[in-house]
Subunit: 137 residues, 2 copies
């Protein structure tokens, strides 16, 4: 297999009151924090159609993750037996892409979305936003 | 906002009978094609815990996508009004990451997974695999 690298471009940033990893519950729905997604105005046209109430998937780049880890204790609990990171949702993985299902609360022109719930540390880069499909769940 | 680029590493490749975009239904569940995910053996430890029957999310790099498109006709149908790509699941977007929910059918050591359904073109790069959480759906 010939392997390639790809260039991922930051399209926005999370603005959140969660300032470090200790502020974050381990799974999204354990809390209900609000956050802003500040999208670069260069991409504002790509937001058309996102309105309050719409469910979205936010893909982030978990910049604090350890990309060399292949096995973890799930949910960071040493009592959980080690598993491969591809069988978990650990942030530590070769490509630390975070996947967060959330809902748009309000839209501030030209390119800011308020969402809830979103348990992501302040200043985490955003790399994609997608609509939710029925087959996602 | 200071923007950054990130280096995404290919961790595997899709092996599928779908050889071009015309073989692909527009949404995963309209067909039920099987495919193999061939993970680079360097990452085989990261697969531990993935067994037949387990639901997973596969993140791909949609290498044929147009990264400059910000608006599209949803599902490629010109009768659908144009929408921002972040309000759709179009492959065309600034970072063409594909997100596919599927199920492991079989595991071939050291690092191959057969999955169904997966409507992805042969030789599409894979960048991540995640377990499915209850809050995904």
């Amino acid at each position: 297999m010939t392997r390639h690298d790809f260039e991922l471009r930051q399209i926005g940033i999370i603005r959140s009151e969660l300032k470090n990893i200790h502020d974050c519950p381990r799974q999204e729905r354990e809390g209900a924090a609000r956050a802003w997604i500040e999208v670069d105005p260069e991409y504002s046209a790509a937001l058309e159609g996102l309105e309050p109430g719409v469910e979205i998937l936010v893909l982030t780049w978990l910049h604090l993750a350890d990309r060399s880890m292949l096995k973890v204790h799930p949910r960071g609990n040493p009592e959980n037996p080690m598993r491969g990171v591809f069988a978990t949702r650990s942030p530590h993985r070769p490509n630390p892409i975070g996947l967060h299902r959330t809902r748009v609360i309000s839209v501030a022109l030209p390119s800011r979305l308020q969402v809830q719930p979103l348990e992501v540390i302040d200043e985490t880069p955003v790399v994609d936003i997608k609509s939710v499909l029925s087959e996602d769940g």
